[in-house]
Every structure is written in C-alpha cells, then in structure tokens.
Symmetry: C2
C-alpha cells in the first residue's frame, strides 16, 4: 500500500469518528433530553480526545513525506497539502493546552448561558480572562509553527489564506463607507413611510411546511439530510448526512424562513462537496469565510433579493394564508421585500441587517487584535465596546452587558478569530453574485421566475465541487476573476438600498 | 492509581464510545435519512472496531490480576468478575472471526430485508449457511474458553448463568403443558362468542399522547429519555439517555400501546441501573432473559392484566375518544381485556399471544441446537420448521418461507442463541409477579386503582438496582426465593386464561 493510500485510510477513519461526533452534537441540540447532558459530555469528550489522537498520529508526517515522492494527481497533491497543514497546526499545540482550552471553553460556555441572562459581567469576566490567556498561548504556538502573528494564526484556524494585512484595508474601507450609507438608507426608509406589519399567528406546522418547500426549491437533498428544531439554528451533522435546524416564532415567520434559507446555503456547500474525496481533508469546504459566503449568498444575495421574493411571495401566501386574496397587501412581494431589507442600527449582531452587520464584526475584530496583542485587558472590554458602538452605530451599551459584550457565544467558547469570517463571507457572496451576473446577464430574470438552475450550477461548478483543491484566494480568483475585494459588496449595498 | 481504578477508567472510556454507538443506532432507525446509510455504516463500523480494540486491551487481564489483590467492596469485586468474564469471551474469538461474523451479519440482514418480502428461500439460504458455519466456530471458540458446549457458549453471549441442562426440563415441561391449555382457552373463547372489534381510525397524534401518558404512569424518566417512531420498535440509546421507539397503525391502537408498555419495561431497567457504577460492567442488566423479564412484566403481567386494564380503560377512552359515552362497550375494560388476552395459534412469533409464544421459541431453540451440533443442515430448515409448527401449533408453513423460517432477523444477523431468552424472560416475569404478590397481598387492588408504587419499588429494589452484582440464578433467588422455575408461569396462564 502506498503511503498516500495509508493517509487516505487514516483520514477516512478520522472522518468516521467526526461523523459520530457531528451527529451527537446535532442530537444534543435538537433531540437530547436535558438530563442526559452529563453522560453526553463524557461521550463527546472521549470522541474528541480520540479524534485529536488520530489527527496527531506521529506516522502522519512520515506518510506525508513519502507520499510527496509518489505519483499523485492534482487532487491527491492538494489532499497531502491539506493533511500536512492540518497536522502542523494540530501538532503545534501542546496536549495540555488543548485540554486547558477545551475545559475553559466548556466552562466558559456554561457560565455564559447562565450569566448572560442575569447581565452578570463581574462573575463572567474571570472566564474570559482565562479564555484570552489561553487563546494568546494558542495563537503564539500556532504562529510559531506557521510563521504568522498570533492573531493571524488564530484567524487561520477558521479561514486559511487570509490575514490581518488583507483584512485591514477591507475593513478600513467599510468603516469609512458604511456610516453614510446607513444614514442615507434610514432617511430613505423614513421618507417611504411605515412598514406594513408582518402577518402574525402563523402556526409552526405551516411554517415548517414552507421551510421544507423552500429547501426543496433551493435543491437541498432530503435523501441525505433533515430539518429539525433547535434553540440556536445551525447546519451540522456529517458529510453525507447534513442536519439543519431552525426555530419558529408564530409572530415572525420570516425570521425562520430566512434562517432556513441561510442554513440551506451551508448545507448545499456540504452536500455538494467532491464526493470522490469524502472523508479526505481536500473534500472539505475552503474555510469558514467561504462557508459563510454560501449561507449569505442564499440569504442575502438570493433570499432577500427583490427577484426571488417576487417569485416566493405568492407561494408564501398560498402556503401560510390560503384564504388570503392575491391583492392582500400584507402578503405582497413589495411588503416582504421591504421587511427583508429593513435597515436599523441595533445592539445585537445576530439581528443586524446587511448594512449594519459589518460594524458589529469590525468592533469585535479590532478588540480581538488588541486583546491578543495584550494592549487591551478583559476588564477594558465593556468600556471599549461602548465606545465602539457609539462610534460605529451611535448606540450606547453602558451597563447593558447582556446586549453588549456578553451577547456572543464565540469568546466564552474560545472561538477567538472567528468573527471576521462573517463579513468576509458577505463580501465574497456579493463578489460571486457579480461574477454570476457577468456569466449570465439574465440571471435576475431567471431567479424571478424561480429558475435557480444557472445559479446553483455556477455555485456547484465554481465553489462547492472545488472542496479544498485551491486556497481561498485562488478559489475566489478562479470563480470571480479576482481575489477577495470589497467593491462588489459596496456596489451591491448601494444598488439594493439606495437604488444607485 | 490502583489497578482497580485503571479498570474503572478504561471501562468508563468504553462506555463513552458505546454511548455514541447506541445513539447512532437509534438515529439510524428513527431519524436518519435513507441516503446516509453508507456513511453511517462506515462510522458505526469504526466505532465497533474501536470498542472491540479497547475491550481486548492486553492490559485488562494484568489489571484484573492486580485488582484481585486490592481492597475492594462487594460491588467492585463483582465489577472485576464481570470485566474478567467479558474479557475472556472477547479474547476467545480471533479477530478474523469477529470480522467475518460482522460482515456475514451485515450481509445477512441486508439479504433478509430484500429476500423475505419475496419469499425467496433459495437465494437466502447461502447467507444462513455462512452464518451458521461462523456461529459454530464462534460457539466452539467461546466454549473452549469457558468449558461449555458450543451452543451453551452461544446462549451465554445473551444470558450468562443458564445452560441447556437448565432450559431443557423447562421447555419439555411447557411442551407437554401448553397444547392442552391452548386448546382449552380457544374453546373457552369460542363459547364466549365474538370479540367486539377494536375502534379504528385513531389518529397517530392521539396515540402518541396516550403512549406518553402511559410511560409517565409507569415512571419513565423523560428527563433522560425520549419516545420516537421506528419501523421495528425497540429500547435503545445509552445509559442515562434511553431512546424508546414504537410504530403507529390508525386501525390498531392497542398494538402500539402494548408495544410502548413492553419497551418501557426495558427502559425502566436501563434507567434504574445502579447509578454509582454507570459505565462499569457491574451496572449492566443481568442478561437478556432478565431484560425481557422486565419488558414482559410490564406488558404481560401488568399491561394485559385485568387490574391495570380496569384502571387504564377510562383513561384510554378519555384520551382517544373524548366524546364517547362511559357506557360505550367498545371502550370498556372488559373489551380491552378480551382483546389483550385473545389466544390464537399463528405463524408469526412477534404477533403471538402469551400462551402460544413459547411454542415459537421452543421450535427455534431445538433447531438451533441441531444446527450448531451439525445434526441438521441449513437446507433442512424449511421441512423441519413445517414439521415443528404442525406438531406444536397445528399449522402448515409449506412453501411459506416469509411467514415461516424467514420471519426473524435473528439468524441472518448472527444472533444464534438469543431466542430462548424470550420465554425465559416470560417465566421469570411470572415468578417475580408471584413473589410480589406474596410480599404485598393487596397488590392487584393497588394496581387496579393505578397505584404502581409498590410494584415499581419491588422491581427497583430486587432487580433494577442490582445490576450485575449477582448472577442470574442468584438474582432470581434473592428476589423470588428460588431459581428460575416454570411453575409460576404455568399457574399464571391457568389463572388468567382458564380461570383456574
């Protein structure tokens, strides 16, 4: 057996345990009775330890070295490259730091769940102290192994191929661009008058049927996936068995629908990964920014676009209010579009619209850099948060930790370096939509009549089927003709929100 | 760390992977989209291999040897005893036989699913040939390691502490006793006239609510368990997270209800295992016959008993037909009792009543002995099956493989030696009920008013909380004053079905 083959076998084995872990995590959020949390935590910890052990198997670098001398095609070469990169990162972090991070994340997340509700910053702070201390060590260790700064190394856990030197100019540009846009959009909205309120009291059963029908329209493969309910919607499960969740509120069906469309974007990427290499690192999505580009393509570029809403509105009315008249303004595409594109600065990132979302990300990105560099301490976070929110969105968070610096699960669960991927994904999605429009100038007409074949084929050919064959910037360049660039995103916002 | 402590840590680790495996199996049957079968099979195979590897770790016998010299309490002593027994059995079977059995079982079960429907014995037979060949090797290897005959060794996989020398007299007794009983019961039924038919068209939603309410009445802990739907009902999941399934037919709600009561018996055993030793072999149920005694205690002794039905009937009516009059004969306890205790010889084991069920088991038990001994070949099975069915129940299965020798999944999935546990469990359940009656002479009055506390406390104290502290016969003797004995079962049948 060739050393390359040994690598494939070994990583197929790892993928099998990751399958188990992914399904258990989904079950934990969507199915598990609450009293079973302790036995489940023990089971998933054993799985994690085992996966880490397999991932740092000392035979891997030997096989990699030998495989490089073997006859390999371009996918196999890329697979070896990804394996080597992953091994280097995994091996860079000492076992006791892995364990300390895992414990701190578990404790931090638990503390966050109970203390956020009580707005209890004082008792929460020590958990963040520990997290940032360990994240600094993690960044240092990863950076030493990869020649990156600690914060760049942390970013690379979630998205390889992009660093602060690439992100800084993009975010600086947006910081200058967005405030005027937001102000202009809000004024425009105010001039247009009040929104028609969204119909309320829509049963969960009807909403679920609408969600399923929309997933079907988008091409979700129910033969290899499901839709369920969880407190925090996500796309999880395993390659070949994608588990997507949403939550329902009878008084705001659009939140659930848009959530389903968003998660379906993640799911389509997962379901259309290169099947011949399933279980191998090269088949995996090209990082979390690229993953987010797919969910935001579906939610923002497609799902909140006037064309798809024009197609969807009558179907929504028929499904949710079959007795309503086609002229009922509450169900018109104009109303649904207005609600879907409403802009309003707010405190909470996850509720933010397309125009104000980047401000939430930039705030966290700038703070993370300082926290990892050591130029800001955890004790400074609340004041710094308030100052940034004032500067970026004109809102105060003084004393409001719950809706301020305690709103996200990322930091307490040791996800430092993750936040930038959201906005990088939004920018990439706009860039892809622009490229698609160049390739198919009538794409909006196609979408307006519910014909998504060109759109989905473009994404399948250019993104989903590519796995990790190319690095992020090469993938973007192959797909759109250029590396990640903020201009299409800015044009998109101006076109959609200001009619420019 | 003491060697005993090392054993506990090691088996806690094994239990964690078994937790993962149990939840994945439940998911497979109750949740998984059908197209994910291939990736799931790969994942569960990796888990099985890993569990087998941990279970045959060569350090175990050393730790066992050292632990025996350490200061241990009676639970720890029993834990070491169970660990040693399990290790001896696991180590007795060569790795290539484990793999061959696993492959044959997987292929056999798949063949069974497709060929049973088509009544296709000819193409199915080679799979059974392979299974029985490997089962003989398995029995031989296990027998060599434990000083048992090959078939006794196979039985011990499912129930330790009982062998053919104990089972033969019991089954011989039943073979002589049952035909006359069945004939008398059928005549008695015929004299009593036609059954009132069961109400049909009961929605699944209502049936599910009734099932959940009944589980609640029986003391199922929903904080550590769930009820879902699968094609074949089962009680699975993991210790501390029990997953129970049923199936619904709008035209026969009693089947689902009685299935739920049966599976709840298994679940109560699992949920009430000794918590301090969860994850250790000593906390496990004392074999499959004892497990079946709990499901049959709930279904047969309690659930189909006149007293519990008297309590349940008005609740069933209120839940399923709230508009029905209390005098509506279709919902009376007399009707529900008559249907629940209807006796009728039939071809299918899983549909058999309490009086004819042992015949199905005895037939299989006698054939398994000959098949393992080599005095019968797989080709002889259909004729032998027909002859036995004629002799035991007066029914012909000539040419009907589907409802004859191809009806069960046990043989194609390599479960040779399992069948006797069903009837041993039924006998044990009757013996426990008789002991409970001696301990609480008014127990039937308590049950009739829906007060199950004495019943459940007795089972908890005498069976569930005992785990594997004692062997099967010691457990039975402690609980009922004697080893397994068929007399209480016979008395129970005569009392319930013949009014004697």
């Amino acid at each position: 057996m060739s050393s390359y083959q040994k690598l494939e076998d070994h990583f197929r084995e790892i993928a099998n345990f990751e399958h188990a872990s992914g399904i258990l995590d989904w079950d934990n959020a969507a199915m598990m009775p609450s009293g079973s949390a302790d036995v489940r935590a023990a089971a998933t910890a054993s799985l994690s330890v085992h996966i880490h052990k397999l991932s740092t198997d000392s035979r891997i670098p030997d096989w990699v070295g030998e495989a490089k001398g073997e006859q390999l095609d371009e996918w196999q070469v890329a697979n070896v490259r990804e394996i080597e990169r992953g091994f280097t990162m995994n091996a860079a972090i000492p076992a006791d730091l892995v364990e300390a991070l895992s414990t701190a994340a578990s404790n931090g997340e638990q503390a966050w769940r109970s203390m956020r509700e009580k707005n209890n910053w004082q008792d929460f702070k020590p958990y963040l102290d520990e997290i940032f201390k360990l994240s600094r060590e993690q960044g240092q260790a990863l950076g030493d192994a990869s020649g990156k700064s600690p914060y760049d190394a942390l970013i690379s856990i979630y998205q390889q191929g992009i660093e602060t030197k690439d992100i800084d100019p993009i975010f600086t540009d947006l910081k200058a661009f967005l405030p005027d846009v937001v102000q202009a959009v809000v004024e425009r909205q105010n001039m247009a008058g009040n929104l028609v309120t969204i119909p309320r009291g829509i049963s969960i059963e009807k909403q679920r049927a609408l969600g399923l029908a929309t997933m079907e329209t988008l091409g979700f493969d129910f033969n290899r996936g499901r839709l369920d309910v969880s407190h925090h919607p996500f796309c999880g499960g395993a390659a070949g068995d994608v588990r997507l969740t949403t939550r329902y509120d009878e008084d705001s069906f659009l939140d659930s629908l848009q959530g389903v469309i968003h998660e379906t974007g993640h799911a389509l990427y997962e379901q259309n990964r290169p099947q011949a290499y399933l279980g191998q690192p090269v088949s995996e999505a090209m990082g979390m920014a690229m993953h987010e580009s797919q969910s935001l393509f579906m939610e923002m570029q497609l799902g909140r676009g006037a064309e798809f809403i024009a197609y969807l509105a009558p179907l929504i009315r028929q499904q949710l209010a079959p007795a309503a008249s086609p002229d009922d303004k509450r169900w018109s595409s104009e109303t649904l579009y207005a609600i879907s594109t409403h802009v309003e600065p707010g405190l909470i990132r996850v509720h933010a619209d397309e125009c104000t979302y980047p401000a939430h990300v930039i705030l966290r990105y700038e703070m993370e850099q300082q926290l990892i560099a050591g130029s800001m301490s955890v004790a400074d976070i609340p004041d710094a948060w308030d100052a940034s929110m004032q500067a970026l969105l004109g809102l105060s968070t003084t004393g409001d930790y719950k809706d301020g610096c305690m709103q996200d699960v990322h930091w307490p669960s040791a996800g430092v370096g993750y936040f930038p991927t959201y906005t990088l994904g939004a920018i990439a999605a706009a860039q892809m939509k622009a490229a698609l429009l160049r390739a198919a100038p009538d794409i909006d007409t196609q979408i307006a009549r519910g014909d998504l074949s060109t759109t989905m084929n473009w994404l399948r050919d250019n993104i989903w089927s590519q796995g990790s064959l190319y690095g992020m910037q090469e993938l973007m360049t192959n797909a759109t003709g250029k590396a990640l660039d903020v201009s299409d995103f800015k044009s998109h916002l101006k076109a959609r929100y200001l009619g420019e």
